[in-house]
């Protein structure tokens, strides 16, 4: 059998130029049961990627929630993702923050590290360097809270591995445009 991409069949045909982009989308939706399932089902059903997804009600009186999705794909796929999201009835707006220009992206992580002696001191020093805060401490462990861009969190977490990393909980990305204008 020809491998996907090698064949000329409509079933196997794939785009040959593959510039994979990473986009952060803000999706404003009605805050109603099932809306998250619709969004996630669309991504899994059509084979799109979700890197992170966060959701919370943002406008209580209007019953609106904001879903922030970080996704990757070719420019054509990213375009399809936005158009397919637009077909969902509870979706009010989709803003591609990556295209909108200057944006702020932040993620929060809680990081548990266990150890004594030298590694324990080193973990604390690194935490200070990364502006992570100590949220809990015992004689043999710390829980750090760190906020920042996802790659900063990645870096901090990987540094903690040899120092006794036990557990990580991350929120996923929250994002907003810079400047005075709202969505």
């Amino acid at each position: 059998m020809p491998l996907p991409g090698e064949s000329h069949s409509a079933y196997f045909y794939q785009e040959t130029v593959k510039t994979i982009e990473r986009h952060t989308l803000a999706v404003i939706v009605d805050n109603e049961p099932g809306v998250l399932a619709r969004v996630i089902g669309l991504f899994s059903g059509r084979g799109y990627n979700i890197e992170t997804l966060t959701v919370s009600e943002t406008e209580h009186e209007k019953h609106l929630s904001r879903i922030t999705i970080v996704t990757t794909g070719t420019p054509a796929i990213i375009q399809q993702i936005k158009l397919q999201l637009g077909r969902l009835i509870p979706v009010h707006r989709i803003v591609d923050l990556t295209l909108a220009g200057a944006i702020l992206e932040r993620e929060l992580a809680l990081v548990k590290v266990r150890g004594k002696g030298e590694p324990r001191v080193e973990a604390l020093q690194l935490a200070e360097a990364f502006n992570a805060r100590v949220m809990d401490a015992t004689t043999e462990s710390f829980v750090f809270e760190i906020t920042g861009k996802s790659d900063k969190l990645d870096q901090f977490i990987s540094l903690m591995v040899p120092l006794g990393l036990v557990e990580v909980s991350r929120t996923g990305v929250a994002a907003i445009g810079r400047g005075p204008e709202g969505l």
């Binding site: 064949s7 069949s9 079933y11 399809q80």
Partner: protein, 588 residues
């Protein structure tokens, strides 16, 4: 006027306020309060089917032949799960449906109660939208919004799941028809700048083609009139997808026949060779495009559609125009008249000459026979003997479906119902029942296959009970012909499970149900049998024995380009297995 009533009464009241005259359904425990209300009124007529899937397809046939929303009522659990196929079918072919499903009482949801299933979860990917109504205060608004969503924009199926306790609860009902509950507001008008750009391309075209689809029929009769006007104003040749047949008349000057996998030579080569393509209410699916990287390589593509996600999904287009077909064509024709006061027929004359040369290949030709009924001949005779009447044709899925599409001349929109996107065997017969429900005096013929008809054969009982004299013409080739054709073409002629063994005697079967049974074995008997079928006031099963090994051509094997089309002259029915080489066989 707001009035107090139970949830079950609200369901019926909302149907009446929406102008619904017929619904298709099947009762069960959770739906009994609604059925009790149905019993106590006579404005909404209920057609009792024999399987919920058939209710869904009947509602589809009803919707497609009337332009109205088709309505289904089913019970919880198995009633709802039996609707998954017709909902998916309606989603794929953009058919407006509202399915009201009963649900277990709210306090039992999540407990694995008797006949509980997660209906909104199961139907989320196969509906345009769905609702679970947990508060009586929401019911009236949700019911009317369901109709609005189903019929507006790109039409589609909507499920409203109503728990049994909500059906019993009382609340205030208000006729909210036309009210807007969600933020859904599809855009109808096309962008005038884009339309001007499109017209400029069209005006300069040397080798234009109009590629029209089911979206034109969905947009309505006005859109079909405008399509005809556009074709005659521009003088462009026109082809259509399977679901778009009838929007432009088969007798029209511009008509090239259907395009795609089993489309005509001239339609597919015109698509391949054109310099400007005007896609109207189409979605460039794989049965149309074949090999996408070789699809119409030298054309500028204009694409009119109400669903923005259709643009660039499969094929990159140059001028996307978002809007309702009728609205956009109205503007397009106005601008065309302004830009091209006198069309220059000479400019596209060489193109027409080329198109006519392709036409001369007569790609729908087949070997005639005096001994056996060729399936293509059967459709030709059906057309000749029914064309003067108001005739609606539905089909099942397989070779017979393609032969009906190729050989029946469709002159009007909304007279042709077939399962295009999903290709659902079992669609055609219940769909015909739905059509006949809406058009009591019309002739409704389901062109069926001997395998497909057995998928919803139980609906004979529905047709007999409700005095719906639908005519089922089975092109009986003793095979799952389309499956066998692929096995011959691509799997070394190993006919794995595609022979229809142990077939019922269809004549006796019809009679057992109280319908009429007919059979024809030879060409000489065909016309009489068709006439007898038409004349019957009962439902008819006509077992039309056709050549068993006939194959459906032309064919573009999937994964091939339009100009790699197989013609009847290239492939005799006997040696179809040798046509595609080993490498090619892996591509489909």
């Amino acid at each position: 006027m707001a009035r107090e009533m139970t949830g079950a009464q609200m369901v019926v009241e909302a149907l009446i306020d929406q102008g619904v005259e017929h619904i298709f359904g099947y009762p069960g425990g959770a739906a009994l309060p609604i059925y009790d209300e149905i019993f106590q009124q006579d404005k909404v007529q209920h057609i009792l089917v024999r399987h919920e899937q058939a209710a869904g397809h009947a509602a589809e046939g009803y919707a497609r032949s009337t332009g109205k929303v088709g309505v289904v009522l089913v019970t919880s659990g198995p009633g709802a799960t039996n609707m998954v196929t017709p909902l998916t079918d309606a989603l794929m072919d953009s058919v407006p449906l509202v399915c009201i499903s009963a649900q277990v009482p709210t306090h039992l949801i999540g407990t694995d109660a008797f006949q509980e299933c997660d209906t909104v979860g199961i139907t989320r990917p196969c509906t345009k939208h769905n609702f679970l109504v947990k508060r009586i205060e929401d019911l009236a608004g949700v019911l009317h919004e369901a109709f609005r969503i189903a019929r507006s924009g790109r039409p589609g199926p909507v499920v409203v799941d109503v728990p049994k306790d909500i059906q019993f609860k009382t609340g205030i009902y208000e006729n909210l028809k036309g009210a807007v509950r969600t933020s859904y507001r599809p855009r109808l008008e096309g962008d005038e700048r884009a339309i001007r750009h499109a017209v400029a391309l069209m005006a300069s075209a040397k080798k234009p083609v109009i590629y029209s689809g089911g979206g034109v029929v969905n947009s309505g009769p006005r859109a079909c009139e405008l399509l005809r006007e556009l074709a005659s104003l521009t003088g462009f040749p026109l082809t259509s997808t399977l679901t778009g047949l009838g929007a432009y008349p088969a007798s029209g000057k511009a008509w090239l026949g259907m395009l795609g996998m089993h489309g005509t030579y001239e339609a597919n080569l015109a698509m391949h060779g054109c310099d400007v393509m005007v896609g109207i209410g189409v979605r460039f699916d794989d049965r149309i495009t074949g090999r996408t990287d070789a699809f119409s390589p030298n054309s500028k593509k204009i694409h009119i559609d109400i669903d923005a996600s259709s643009f660039n999904k499969n094929i990159r287009v140059d001028v996307p125009i978002l809007g309702d077909v009728a609205h956009v064509l109205e503007t397009m024709i106005r601008i065309w008249k302004e830009v091209v006061p006198k069309p220059d027929a000479a400019a596209i004359a060489p193109w027409w000459k080329q198109v006519n040369a392709w036409r001369a290949k007569k790609s729908l030709r087949y070997q005639k026979s005096a001994d056996v009924i060729m399936p293509q001949y059967a459709i030709e005779r059906l057309y000749q003997l029914t064309k003067e009447r108001n005739t609606y044709i539905t089909t099942e899925v397989g070779q017979h479906q393609m032969w009906a599409a190729q050989h029946y001349g469709f002159e009007k929109p909304n007279h042709w119902m077939t399962s295009g996107g999903l290709g659902t065997m079992g669609y055609g017969f219940p769909s015909a029942i739905g059509v006949q429900t809406a058009h009591r005096d019309a002739l409704v013929v389901c062109v069926a296959g001997d395998a497909s008809i057995q998928m919803n054969i139980q609906e004979l009982s529905t047709a007999v009970q409700h005095d719906l004299p639908v005519k089922v013409m089975i092109l009986n080739n003793q095979y799952m012909g389309m499956v066998r054709q692929w096995q011959q073409l691509l799997h070394g002629n190993r006919l794995s499970h595609s022979y229809n063994d142990a077939m019922p005697d269809f004549v006796k079967l019809a009679e057992a149900y109280g319908a009429m049974g007919l059979r024809a074995q030879r060409p000489a008997e065909l016309d009489d049998a068709i006439e007898a079928m038409i004349a019957s006031t009962k439902p008819v099963i006509f077992d039309c024995r056709v050549a068993s090994m006939a194959n459906c051509l032309p064919m573009i094997p999937s994964g091939k380009a339009h100009n790699e089309i197989l013609l009847p002259d290239d492939v005799a029915d006997e040696d179809i297995g040798d046509v595609i080489d080993a490498e090619g066989k892996q591509l489909v």
